[in-house]
């Protein structure tokens, strides 16, 4: 499946501009991660979302839902019409993803620190069933302020959940209050296999995921993905905090779109 980061970002921007909702910079920072996962790494069947042999993806930083929706549409889980209804009263697509509404969404997230232990539960369940499926879970560095992230870090390492692959969207989102410093050291100290990548390099992401899938380590893996909040638009990149949950005017929308092109 060939996915195009530009098309995904354009969809995100369109959804958020039209609806007046969404977290654009938080979405833009994870686009390449999603493109690589859904384009080249994960096993899934859009026509059969509950396929038993699928790999699992859990967006623990659920406020980046628009990025997930745009990706799910591009690979065939949901329709363009669904995207156009983003955040409307009766829409299946809300500001945070809902597993009981959206095909392809495995966990209802939004409250930070919930999706990560949920993913560990799925990984444990797959171990009990002796199944080879992988569980990919994307967390934020701001989300890593939550204690449950580190509880789960201990539990997953202790339980040797090597089918659990975390991706840390290190976009410096809470550097103004409680920054996640020395992330590599921290995750290593918690007993995880840790890799660092440029989170916007499809090539690096591809090599990294491939290496993990082929490796035989007995512990879970955390990929520290260095990203930019608002990647692709200098307007957003230069003022990520202000844009966190802000929506563009018509002029701003056009300007951001031009930057993406």
């Amino acid at each position: 499946m060939k996915l195009n980061p530009y098309e995904i970002r354009k969809s995100i921007l369109q959804m958020c501009y039209t609806s007046g909702e969404g977290h654009i910079p938080s979405c833009f920072s994870i686009v390449e991660i999603l493109v690589e996962l859904y384009g080249n790494v994960m096993r899934y069947k859009p026509e059969h979302p509950d396929w038993e042999d699928r790999d699992y993806f859990i967006l623990s930083k659920g406020h980046a839902s628009a990025a997930l929706y745009a990706t799910l549409q591009n690979v065939g889980f949901i329709s363009v019409t669904d995207l156009s209804n983003f955040s409307k009263y009766d829409s299946i697509l809300g500001g945070h993803p809902d597993r009981n509404k959206v095909p392809g969404v495995e966990a209802s997230t939004g409250s930070l620190g919930h999706g990560f232990p949920f993913a560990a539960g799925v990984a444990l369940g797959l171990k009990i069933k002796a199944k080879p499926n992988k569980v990919y879970v994307l967390i934020g560095d701001g989300e890593s302020n939550e204690g449950s992230i580190w509880e789960t870090a201990m539990v997953a390492a202790h339980r040797k959940l090597n089918n659990l692959i975390g991706i840390l969207d290190a976009n410096q989102s809470t550097s103004r209050c409680l920054p996640l410093t020395n992330a590599v050291d921290k995750w290593t100290a918690f007993g995880w296999n840790v890799l660092e990548v440029d989170g916007h390099s499809l090539k690096e992401l591809g090599h990294t995921f491939k290496a993990i899938i082929n490796s035989k380590q007995s512990c879970p893996t955390m990929i520290i993905a260095h990203t930019l909040k608002g990647k692709g638009s200098k307007i957003l990149e230069n003022d990520g905090y202000s844009w966190h949950h802000k929506n563009p005017s018509e002029e701003e929308y056009k300007a951001i779109l031009r930057e993406l092109e």
């Binding site: 597993r99 009981n100 495995e106 966990a107 209802s108 939004g110 409250s111 620190g113 919930h114 999706g115 990560f116 232990p117 949920f118 993913a119 560990a120 539960g121 799925v122 990984a123 444990l124 369940g125 797959l126 009990i128 069933k129 204690g147 449950s148 509880e151 789960t152 201990m154 539990v155 202790h158 339980r159």
Partner: protein, 297 residues
């Protein structure tokens, strides 16, 4: 109660390979036989209750029936949001089995008391709440509900009411009429049934015992209250938000009903000592309950 919990889990675990036990580092010795027999489905996860609830949600999404077990304040209050979103909102079944609710751990003080659990849990859609206070109640209701797709909170008391119900009298969601009467309805839950029966001797009161707080047996309660016009609720819980409120919801449209609640009257229990001492101080003993019944009749 705890021995029955272990026995029931072992029996269900023997028949159903989807039953998975997650502990918050309590009752490890108690459940050692389950661990020995089903090591692949027994996990003493650690003292990280929020993570345990969310992991249970993940396991449930995969088709497992998780049983989460730890002390009430940590199982419920510390991880209220995980119960709300992880289990109730996502419609993922799991069984939270607590010990140490109310003031069962009297001497350990307020951090280990938990008499608000029913209040906060009652407000969560999709959640079932069961307060079984004899072994057979837990055994029958757990086997009836553990895999029905809903999250269920089992509040295991440290003391039993001592009444021997037959298994065919026990059904999830159904109250049990223990005594007929015409002047007052008493709706009681938990171990206090014992005191209520003794306090009601020779008095014209109807006793309804409920092991299921949510859903309440509304029909049974309403039928009795329409007859008597007066209802006394008795529970080892804050009088705000527990059985008293559930009965009030069930009867509020009947009209001209006098309702009185016995329990913990919106205060923290700051003493230590024993369970019995706390009951006496709260009027939750034979004399206190008898005095209240006589005043209402």
């Amino acid at each position: 109660m705890r021995k029955q919990f272990a026995k029931t889990l072992e029996e269900v675990g023997d028949k159903d390979e989807n039953l998975v036990v997650l502990l918050g580092d309590v009752s490890v010795f108690l459940l050692r036989k389950f661990q020995e027999r089903f090591p692949n489905r027994f996990y003493n996860i650690g003292i990280c209750e929020q993570t345990i609830i969310s992991m249970a949600a993940g396991l449930s999404a995969l088709g497992f029936y998780p049983v989460i077990h730890t002390i009430a304040p940590f199982a419920v209050e510390r991880c209220y949001e995980q119960i709300k979103i992880g289990l109730c909102y996502q419609k993922l079944g799991a069984n939270i089995v607590s010990v140490g609710s109310a003031f069962d751990y009297a001497a350990l003080g307020s951090s280990h008391h938990c008499y608000e659990d029913l209040a906060i849990l009652r407000s969560l859609p999709n959640l079932q709440i069961v307060y079984p206070s004899s072994e057979i109640e837990f055994d029958v209701i757990f086997k009836e509900t553990y895999n029905n797709g809903y999250p269920t909170y089992f509040r295991l008391p440290g003391n039993k009411h001592g009444v021997q119900f037959a298994s065919d009298q026990i059904r999830f969601g159904n109250g049990i009429k223990v005594k007929e009467g015409n002047s007052l309805t008493i709706v009681v839950t938990g171990p206090q049934l014992k005191n209520v029966i003794m306090a009601s001797e020779l008095l014209d009161s109807e006793i309804i015992y409920v092991h299921t707080i949510k859903p309440l047996d509304v029909e049974l309660v309403r039928h009795s209250v329409i007859k008597t016009g007066k209802v006394l609720t008795i529970e080892e819980h804050n009088t705000i938000g527990g059985l008293g409120d559930e009965v009030s919801r069930a009867t509020e449209d009947i009209g001209n009903v006098i309702q009185v609640r016995m329990g913990i009257n919106d205060t923290f229990l700051t003493k230590y000592g024993s369970y019995g001492q706390h009951c006496t101080a709260l009027g939750l003993d034979i004399n206190g309950i008898k005095h209240m019944i006589e005043g209402l009749i």
